[in-house]
């Protein structure tokens, strides 16, 4: 089920990793995912230094390993299936490597979003020069997402309560009408919510509690991480 508290719930733990600037965390996560994607290739052993890195980060963010693993669960069946297919065309080594890469990437993203309040994440993206429009859009989608998903839930309940069934054509048409209604509800909701925001002093940019800034710890962390990741990539190439 869609649930923002589920996403934000670990960002308030007061651990070293949580205290880093969001930009730093985003850069490190991106570096991790990209360098791993390029350097690991088809050999599963090369994943080792990257796994160590994730374990380290998870440790300094005091995330419970069980919680982390549980959050990867929804994605796993798909990874398994895709690796299986890959196994037939490219061999088992490549399949295992791809599975591990997919798994570790997801893990790193989960660590990122669960250690950073979503509003800070957005600030970070903004700081990294992602277009302002895109960032505001993401922040709005995040606001509305859960509401609108639930709204469709209500429509579905109304449909089911009145014995929805019948021919496929009728079902498509009805589902189409539900989607249209969802659109109208969303649109009007957007309009009204905008009024509500304006009524409470919104003037075009979303402000958040707490400010962040790059301090020395951030610079040291980002440098060490990238040096580690790069050399991990290069060394594992030579050795593994």
């Amino acid at each position: 089920m869609l649930d923002p508290t589920y996403i934000d719930s670990y960002s308030s733990i007061n651990a070293p990793y949580q205290r880093l600037d969001a930009r730093v965390k985003i850069i490190v996560t991106l570096a991790f995912v990209i360098i791993m994607a390029i350097s690991v290739d088809d050999r599963p052993l090369r994943v080792i230094p990257f796994s160590l890195f994730i374990v380290f980060i998870a440790a300094i963010s005091r995330l419970s390993p069980m919680v982390l693993l549980r959050r990867t669960l929804p994605a796993l069946p798909f990874f398994l299936f895709a690796s299986l297919v890959l196994g037939f065309s490219k061999g088992s080594e490549a399949a295992v490597a791809a599975f591990l890469k997919a798994f570790l990437s997801v893990l790193s993203v989960i660590v990122l979003v669960s250690t950073t309040r979503f509003s800070n994440l957005l600030k970070g993206l903004e700081g990294l020069k992602v277009p302002q429009l895109l960032v505001s859009l993401i922040s709005f989608v995040y606001r509305y997402l859960f509401i609108i998903a639930d709204e469709y839930g209500h429509i579905k309940i109304a449909r089911e309560s009145r014995n929805f069934g019948g021919s496929k054509r009728w079902q498509w048409k009805t589902i189409g009408h539900s989607v249209g209604t969802l659109f109208l509800h969303s649109y009007e909701r957007g309009d009204r919510v905008y009024s509500a925001m304006v009524a409470r002093g919104y003037e075009g940019n979303i402000r958040t509690l707490g400010t962040q800034g790059i301090v020395r710890a951030d610079i040291i962390f980002v440098s060490i991480s990238i040096i580690y990741l790069l050399s991990a990539g290069l060394i594992s190439w030579k050795l593994l």
């Binding site: 309940i157 109304a158 009145r162 014995n163 019948g166 009805t174 009408h177 209604t181």
Partner: protein, 274 residues
């Protein structure tokens, strides 16, 4: 009288872990009109969603002899018509006609029969001529009527309404009351409008924290001030004054004096939270 709804030990937890229903038991007889009252968050709306199998808590529910099981759902949903708390959650078709016709079409009626049912249902809620209007562009009270019509058109044997009078102006509320009075099918009416409950129902069920804490004759329960206050309710004005005039309750002399001196019930208020 024949029992049409039988609920035994119903418990429901929302996926977030909130226990919304907690070992709830209830029997409803054929033709009864029952009011369900209780504080905000008591679990009333959650309870209602169990009556046609939208939510599935632990426990046993039997509706008109049918157990609440997947195979029986279509027939149960045909019997139990639910009007939701928010009409915007109920209306999803391009026109009023389509919305009222939705149920009958799904029940497989012929086109002629469907049209006939829509006409009748709209007539009953006083919305003839609204067929081609967009449900979206109606006033709140009109939307409420359309949602009632869209349930009536299925001719349910059991009508369940969640807060039907809220946000209606006094005249529309009165019309609603008269409408409901005119039906002799089984009705379950969830409401915070105690005066309406009093006008419509002989029996009331008080819910709190997911369970039924009182169930009985409505003027007895509504007249029990301690009980009412304990569960976020108040003794309604009209009972206060009925007591005053008829003296059919004992030991309430002081109470009456109160009512006389302070026509507003705030005097009996416990003000814990503010």
């Amino acid at each position: 009288m024949e029992t049409v709804i039988e609920i035994k030990e119903l418990t429901y937890l929302y996926p977030t872990g909130n226990k919304a229903l907690d070992n709830l038991n209830l029997n409803v007889s054929q033709g009864e009109r029952i009011a369900v009252v209780g504080p905000n968050g008591a679990g009333k709306s959650t309870f209602i969603l169990h009556l046609n199998g939208i939510l599935n808590g632990d426990g046993h529910i039997t509706v008109m002899g049918m157990a609440m099981e997947k195979g029986n759902l279509p027939r149960i949903r045909q019997k139990v018509g639910i009007v939701f708390q928010d009409p915007d959650h109920q209306l999803f078709s391009p026109t009023v006609f389509d919305d009222v016709a939705f149920g009958p079409i799904n029940l497989g009626f012929s086109e002629k029969e469907v049209k006939e049912r829509v006409r009748e249902a709209l007539e009953e809620v006083g919305l003839r001529g609204f067929e081609e209007r967009l449900p979206h562009r109606l006033s709140f009270g009109e939307k409420r009527r359309v949602s009632i019509a869209s349930v009536l058109s299925m001719s349910p044997s059991i009508l369940v309404l969640d807060e039907p009078s809220s946000s209606l102006d006094p005249r529309s509320r009165r019309e609603l009351i008269n409408l409901l009075k005119g039906f002799d099918i089984t009705q379950i009416i969830v409401t915070h409008d105690l005066e309406m409950a009093l006008e419509l129902c002989k029996r009331v069920v008080v819910m709190d924290r997911g369970a039924i804490v009182a169930d009985g004759e409505i003027s007895n329960i509504f007249g029990n001030e301690a009980l009412m206050l304990e569960h976020g309710l108040e003794v309604p004005h009209s009972i206060r004054f009925t007591h005053f005039h008829t003296h059919d309750h004992k030991g309430e002399e002081e109470e009456h004096c109160h009512a006389h001196c302070h026509p507003h019930p705030e005097a009996h208020e416990h003000k814990e939270r503010i």
